[in-house]
């Protein structure tokens, strides 16, 4: 075990997987010589050479499109979008091909690639650098959507994503890239895709969250007394999600709060709330409440703090559900 922040854990995952499997390559803008703008791919080009860690021209659609071709033809590409806000430039390739090639070819071809993208807000970045596009990508049926909330899961989920037979978009909450360290095993391990994690147990209320919002939820819980009885679930794989863990928990607590940074309307919280009422309405003691970003474009950074969910909003949400 070594204490690492998320950037190091992701780098470590890439390093070990590339050592173990020669078909894995990394491609993207500034990923080689510069080691990526957040240094997630630092040192990889020195270790594996310019043919396996490739600084591409500035063209997201071609990065993903080429990664699809590479993947169909036996390679295991890990493509980087410099920020998830620039994955839109590659949206057509993701939606039309990465997500559909398996079905279109009746399983003859598949595109087992990983698209990594620093995501979400909280670092006072320029416009388009703070997007939380998980709901868009959930609508790319055939694609898996993953978002870790800490270093340990980051390494295990990235390794699982690389080894997964399906295309995965791996959204990295950049606010917590270096915010805290966790014990991370030195050897490779996987955290299974499609499995949520019960972070803390309770009987009164279930909170479902992911990405950098998970830490925020934990911060909010610290302000409540220890007997508050709140069960916190980290969704981890946004799609296909682990509804069973959620339903089991809500059947026990009878109350649910969903916290995410992306806009509220048609966000993943809406889907989770719908499933809860479909599958355990009679267990519910209160409406399912969402604490989310507003239904507006992610603002330029002068207003960022007002956009992002905060501890007060989470505590208000908890109170609303508990006191209904």
């Amino acid at each position: 075990m070594t204490k690492m922040h998320m950037v190091k854990a992701l780098n470590n995952a890439l390093q070990q997987e590339m050592e173990a499997d020669a078909s894995i390559m990394v491609l993207g803008e500034d990923v080689g010589v510069n080691g990526g703008v957040f240094r997630v791919t630092e040192g990889l080009q020195e270790a594996f050479g310019k043919d396996r860690v490739v600084d591409t021209p500035l063209a997201e659609s071609a990065i993903v499109g080429a990664a699809i071709g590479l993947a169909i033809n036996g390679m295991r590409p890990v493509a980087e979008m410099q920020f998830s806000g620039f994955s839109y430039q590659a949206f057509a390739q993701i939606k039309q091909h990465a997500a559909r090639i398996r079905q279109r070819s009746e399983g003859t071809f598949s595109a087992p690639l990983v698209i990594r993208a620093p995501s979400s807000g909280g670092i006072r970045a320029l416009e388009h650098h703070s997007e939380s596009p998980e709901a868009f990508f959930t609508h790319c049926q055939g694609l898996k959507v993953v978002m870790p909330s800490g270093p340990y899961d980051a390494k295990g989920l990235l390794i699982a994503s690389i080894r997964d037979p399906d295309p995965v978009i791996f959204l990295e909450p950049k606010k917590i890239y270096r915010a805290f360290k966790e014990e991370v095993p030195e050897e490779p391990y996987t955290v299974p895709l499609g499995k949520a994690k019960v972070v803390s147990q309770g009987e009164q209320l279930t909170i479902i969250s992911w990405g950098s919002m998970l830490k925020l939820c934990q911060k909010a819980l610290l302000q409540l007394d220890q007997e508050s009885g709140i069960e916190l679930i980290d969704l981890r794989t946004i799609w296909p999600f682990d509804i069973d863990t959620i339903i089991t928990s809500v059947k026990k607590t009878g109350r649910a709060l969903i916290v995410h940074e992306a806009p509220r309307t048609a966000g993943m919280g809406a889907e989770i709330a719908a499933r809860i009422q479909e599958q355990c309405l009679l267990h519910l003691e209160a409406p399912v409440i969402r604490v989310t970003g507003f239904d507006v474009p992610f603002p330029q950074f002068a207003l960022e703090e007002h956009y992002l969910p905060n501890v007060t909003r989470i505590l208000d949400g908890i109170q609303k559900v508990l006191e209904f």
């Binding site: 803008e29 500034d30 080689g32 010589v33 510069n34 080691g35 703008v37 600084d55 021209p57 500035l58 063209a59 997201e60 659609s61 071609a62 806000g85 620039f86 839109y88 430039q89 006072r124 970045a125 320029l126 416009e127 388009h128 650098h129 509220r264 309307t265 507003f294 239904d295 507006v296 474009p297 603002p299 330029q300 950074f301 002068a302 207003l303 960022e304 007002h306 956009y307 007060t312 909003r313």
Partner: protein
Amino acid sequence: MQRFEVEYVQVLDTEGHVDTAQMPDLNDDQIKQIYHVMRLTREMDRRLFKLQRQGKIGTFVEARGEEASEVASAYALRPADWMVPSFRESGAYLMRGADRVKFIQSWKGDTRGFIGDEHCRDLPVSIPIASQIPHAVGLAWAEKIKGKKNVALVYFGDGATSEGDFHEALNFAGVLKLPVIFFCQNNQWAISTPRSKQTASATIAQKAIAYGMPGIQVDGNDALAVYKVTREAIGRARDGGGPTLIESLTYRLGDHTTSDDASRYRSEEEVQSWQAKEPIARLEHYFREKGTWTDDYGTWVGHEVAKEVDEAIEKAMAIPPPPPENLFNNVYAKIPPVLVEEKAELEKEWKAIKAEREAKKEGAP
């Protein structure tokens, strides 16, 4: 088979000697106007860079080294022409008369810095690489439809020429024969990616040939040459001659942005070799050669631009952050009812925060 050559234009060599055959129609007052704004841009850069380091503004993008390319090209435009920037075109904004205070305000992450008047023909900064290029095509197209003689000039980097939007836009403009000037700031780098890894073409200018328009290379650190080629391209566009691609050869002397550290990927020698070809000194050499330079004039310009930037910074720093409800303004022309409730939630929270802050202030000794 069609054969082609790419013309390269330089008026001033690095010592400031003029190629008189190439000299554009500019008098010394005009050249001094360009020089003044180049100095202003340099000073603005220097000061905003410092403010970023002090945490007073957000991520900042320096234009250092590219002042001739930006300012002299923008000088060739008329006010009614469209200027479509990416994010490094401080010089073009300042040349076009951008309000200095608002210009700084926008680097505070405050969109109110982009509020323009009814004559505004400068688009706001566009961060997604190359995405603004098709907009210039549409702006120019509308001018053509309206029977106006105005043009659109769009700036983008060498890196942008790898994006689909660049190619699609040039193709459109070629097919529709639109009055657009595609102005490529080839500053040799796209973050850590050198021009040589961006395209296998010998030049960026030659990409124009494939889209049926003239392409030309210009020494982008030579303000007179930049003015000359831009002026000619604009003239052709106004007269119905269609688009032009200009490749301006310049150099990003600073880091990519304040979040970058260029020493990780490029050599100090390379930077120094370009420092020697730097555009402001180049114009000073020109004035000296011509005998129209005095050190007093240089010092005076320095004082003027420092004062202008000082005053603007002071005012911009005094502007309080935008009110939170700005999140909801201008998302739609009229706020839809379904958003009114969210806005009310936010306003309620803001009231509580303000009350708490007030209470704290009063409680303080």
